[in-house]
């Protein structure tokens, strides 16, 4: 039985290990050095790598201890208290949140040395995971009725999750589309936007009007298209933007105000 405590620390172990690896290479390590704890080759920054590896080791150790002693495990507790069955408190639903939280923490730690953005990302992950985890844990014990518990959990979390997930979904489409458009030439941008929207229209039309087979086909195609969009977006982002003519030097006579030397963005 994997207890939550185990999950947390094992997640942290995983994250710190990954962090150590990334950091080992990123700071200038070579070959298999970082994988082999510096046995075959070296790592860049020894101190940082060392800290991360020891953190990973510590987490692993704690996680093992926790699973060995079966903390907070209802079965264990039942056994301890001498009851002959599992207590009416239902088993804690298993969840990935501890792992996610730990992974976030690891990411944040890496961010500390790598880049503030990564740190922020990690922090956000930790917070999100902790919130979700807490809510799950709380809801799981709220009443004796799992359905009511789920309901309760949803009542609290859905208002946060739905808009965020919705915004993320839209954000992905928007981001991917804009990356693609900006990677291709101006003319192609027109074509891409036109084609994509025509496809959406056509797809919806077919889906809405043709029952049966066509529907499934469209749904399938839709999934493919969505994947394509994401992949395209990533590719486009990697390719980078096309070249833009820069108009900086154009001077407009009717600007209204004489150019006062300071005018840089009018800030």
């Amino acid at each position: 039985m994997l207890t939550p405590g185990f999950k947390l620390f094992f997640g942290m172990f995983a994250a710190f290990t990954a962090a150590a690896l990334v950091y080992g290479y990123a700071s200038g390590g070579s070959h298999v050095g970082p994988i082999s704890l510096g046995w075959k080759g070296g790592v860049g920054d020894h101190i940082g790598y060392g800290v991360l590896v020891s953190l990973a080791a510590a987490s692993l150790a704690v996680s093992l201890v926790l699973v060995a002693f079966r903390d907070a495990d209802s079965e264990a507790q039942a056994a301890l208290s001498g009851a002959d069955g599992i207590s009416p408190n239902p088993a804690v639903a298993s969840g990935f949140w501890p792992v996610a939280a730990a992974f976030g923490a690891g990411t944040a730690a890496v961010g500390l040395v790598l880049h503030p953005l990564v740190f922020g990302l990690g922090l956000v992950m930790v917070v999100l995971a902790l919130v979700e985890w807490t809510m799950d844990a709380w809801a799981d014990r709220a009443t004796g009725d799992p359905a009511a518990n789920r309901e309760l959990r949803n009542r609290v979390m859905a208002p946060v999750e739905i808009p965020i997930v919705g915004a993320l979904a839209v954000g992905v489409v928007v981001l991917a589309a804009s990356r693609i458009l900006i990677a291709v030439s101006a003319l192609w941008a027109v074509v891409v936007a036109g084609v994509v929207s025509t496809l959406i229209l056509a797809g919806a039309f077919v889906y809405a009007t043709r029952p049966g087979q066509a529907r499934k086909l469209i749904a399938g195609l839709g999934v493919v298209a969505a994947l394509g969009l994401v992949v395209g977006g990533v590719l486009a982002a990697v390719t980078g933007e096309r070249d833009f003519p820069h108009h900086e030097d154009e001077i407009h006579s009717e600007s209204g105000a004489e150019e006062s030397g300071a005018g840089d963005g009018g800030g």
Binding site: A142, T143, L152, P159, V160, P163, G265, G266
Partner: protein, 686 residues
């Protein structure tokens, strides 16, 4: 005035809060009751109205103390009570506080409390949105005033905050940021409330309550809501631009980048002028209820009163540049706006004469409320007439930005708006609280206020014509300003004294309420529907939704006119009034989400000013509350209302059978299911 409703409100046994038996712990839906916590989650339009009123009176004291500081500084030449810097902040915050945090919410209090009662409804169209409006307003008000503490001082740019003086370069403290963001928050509150009340007026009227039977107060409040509806987006745009200019360096008002400083002025005054009618129309409505009651005559020329109100509302949109006569907009614009401005005197004059004609031949009984109402007419006329002297643009070049203007607008705002609303306070006090205000103290209050007011602002006419500029923190001796400034300061303290008397009156009247006879439903022998139900008003307002057959419905239930044209009583108040004892009337369930959502908005504000993370947290709170709200059923399934009384009871015995049990309240609720769509959309505002 305090929020907690003690003795008088507990006439009926309140349902006990049932937190204890609730199964699901912390996030349960509030149940409603009479404890203080229930005020936080209430969606009852009456309680919301009371909260608006209480908060407004609090801010009246704040703005009033600011005014007293101004008057102290100006009492004598070379005053040294406040430095120039502080003076500028104080007068700015005085204007902003009085306009946005006192008189508008006080009018909102009347709107919330009395529109549903006057049209015979159980609540407003969107009860939770109503609560939301209040909480947003309150959080905005608090936000605005925290500038004193965390913003490095209040805004110091004047209440119309002309650019570029309000840009970062010229006003580097955060005061103006608080102004720009705070007013947006307040605007959002008023916008939501305007939509809500418009729908309420149009859609929730009792059977038979046609538009041309609506009481004048409701009518004026409705017009006010339309003005708010259309004026607020304009200032929102202005504030938005200002905010972007200050926080992100957008050159909207930067002359060096070629921007035009007059853009702000146009946007501000397109809002600003309708705003002054937003301030005055509710008071007009109050006066139109009080004068007929105490003249024992119906309002003279009802239709003309309504249409002149509408006309004022419309014309108010075409005059804004009269605040810019000297700003260099060119002679053609000046002439056009000067002309349009003058003619507002026509519908306003129609109102004045109709009030006089109502009194003409009446039996005028001068209760305190009546005194206030009549004083409103007199004082407003003075202010209106000085307004007409401004409207002549060439003459205004001598007047603008002097104390003559300050005199004008205090006469219309205080003499018209505030005194008018005080008439309303005295008039409806027994309806709201179940006890009368003491008339003797009320008289002291009235006379002190009237005399103090005229002593304060009367001399400002002279000061202005003698050339005293406004917004100056000191003036020199020898220009002839000394005497009248001193008089004005003395007057201001008389007003303060009158306010103290008012507070004593409230306190004393309440303490002695139990030992005096209860006012009953209709202490003044009044005319509109709210007087047909008990005082204080029971939570469900009407036992039975009344069926309306004419104007002044309640009066007609008490009196008839015989063949000689004589008034005869057909029913006593006791016979005609509702008892307020209906049980189990279906009411919308309370909710915490409006409050929660309102808390998020100032966080966004602070975030924009200090640290964007805060804004993210604020936004999360807002969004989460919004969705929680959307998922929350309008009707709490766990709440036990009903008792089987629902059906048929509201139907009102005589009204026969409609298709199905579609009582007004039921309609509220089904409709409300979709509310978040509207909310989500209005979010786009901020």
């Amino acid at each position: 005035m305090t929020v907690t409703a003690d003795a008088p409100l507990e006439l009926e046994a309140p349902p006990q809060p049932r937190y204890a038996e609730r199964p699901l712990g912390v996030l349960t839906r509030p149940q409603g009751g009479r404890g203080w916590r229930d005020w936080l989650s209430t969606v009852d339009h009456k309680r919301i109205g009371i909260m608006y009123g209480t908060a407004a009176m609090f801010f009246f004291l704040v703005g009033g103390v600011e005014a007293l500081l101004l008057r102290l500084q100006l009492a004598a030449p070379d005053g040294s009570v406040l430095g120039a810097d502080v003076y500028n902040q104080v007068y700015t915050m005085h204007g902003v506080t009085m306009v946005f945090l006192f008189i508008m919410p006080l009018a909102a209090a009347f709107a919330n409390y009395f529109i549903p009662l006057q049209i015979g409804a159980r609540d407003v169209a969107f009860p939770r949105l109503n609560a939301l409006s209040f909480w947003i307003w309150l959080s905005g008000a608090i936000f605005l005033n925290t500038a004193w503490i965390v913003g490095g001082g209040g805004a110091d740019c004047g209440w119309f905050c002309y650019t570029p003086n309000s840009g970062v370069a010229f006003s580097p403290s955060h005061g103006v940021d608080f102004y720009a963001i705070g007013l947006q928050i307040l605007g959002l509150a008023s916008l939501i409330s305007a939509i809500n009340l418009i729908v309420t007026c149009l859609n929730m009227r009792a059977p038979g309550m046609t538009l041309m039977r609506m009481p004048v107060l409701t009518w004026m409040l409705l017009i006010t809501q339309f003005l708010l509806l259309f004026a607020l987006p304009v200032i929102t745009v202005a504030l938005f631009l200002l905010m972007f200019a200050r926080l992100f360096g957008a050159p909207f008002f930067d002359p060096a980048a070629g921007a035009d400083p007059l853009l702000w002025q146009h946007l501000f005054w397109i809002f600003g002028h309708p705003e002054v009618y937003i301030i005055i129309l509710p008071a007009f409505g109050v006066v139109s209820e009080v004068i007929p009651t105490f003249s024992r005559k119906p309002l003279f020329g009802y239709e003309f009163m309504i249409f002149s109100g509408i006309a004022i509302g419309f014309m108010g949109w075409g005059v804004w540049a009269h605040h810019m006569f000297v700003s260099g907009i060119g002679p053609i614009s000046v002439a056009a706006f000067s002309l349009s401005t003058m003619f507002i005197a026509v519908p306003t004059g129609v109102k004045i004469l109709n009030w006089l004609a109502t009194m003409w031949g009446g039996r005028l009984r001068f209760t305190v409320a009546m005194k206030f109402a009549v004083a409103t007419v007199a004082m407003f006329t003075i202010g209106g007439l000085s307004g007409v002297t401004h409207s002549v643009a060439p003459a205004d070049t001598q007047q603008t930005d002097t104390y003559y203007i300050v005199a004008h607008f205090h006469y219309v705002i205080f003499g018209g708006g505030v005194i008018g609303l005080f008439a309303g306070l005295y008039f409806w006090w027994p309806k709201v609280w179940g006890y009368m205000l003491d008339e003797r103290l009320g008289n002291w209050n009235f006379w002190l206020m009237l005399i103090g007011f005229n002593l304060t602002f009367g001399p400002m006419h002279i000061l202005g014509l003698q050339g005293m500029s406004r917004r100056i923190d000191t003036y020199a001796a020898g220009y002839g300003f000394e005497l009248w400034n001193m008089v004005a300061t003395v007057g201001a303290f008389l007003i303060a004294l009158s306010m103290l008397v008012f507070m004593v009156n409230v306190w004393k009247s309440r303490r002695t309420a139990a030992s005096r006879p209860a006012p009953g439903p209709d202490p003044w022998d009044a005319r509109s529907l709210e007087w047909s139900i008990p005082s204080p008003v029971p939570e469900h307002n009407f036992d039975e939704v009344p069926v309306v057959r004419g104007r002044d419905e309640w009066w007609h239930r008490k009196y008839g006119i015989d063949d000689d044209g004589q008034v005869v009583r057909v029913a006593t108040v006791e016979e005609a009034a509702q008892r307020g004892d209906a049980v189990g009337v279906h009411l919308p369930s309370p909710s915490f989400w409006p409050l929660a959502m309102a808390v998020g908005l100032p966080l966004i504000g602070y975030g924009l000013i200090f640290n964007l993370w805060l804004a993210v947290i604020g936004a999360l709170i807002v969004i989460a509350s919004l969705y929680s709200w959307a998922f929350e059923p309008v009707d709490d399934p766990d709440a036990d209302h009903g008792h089987g009384h629902d059906e048929g009871h509201d139907g009102g015995g005589e009204s026969g059978d409609g298709p199905g049990p579609d009582d007004a309240v039921g309609e509220v609720e089904t409709a409300e299911t979709d509310e978040p769509a509207a909310v989500g959309a209005s979010e786009g505002q901020s």
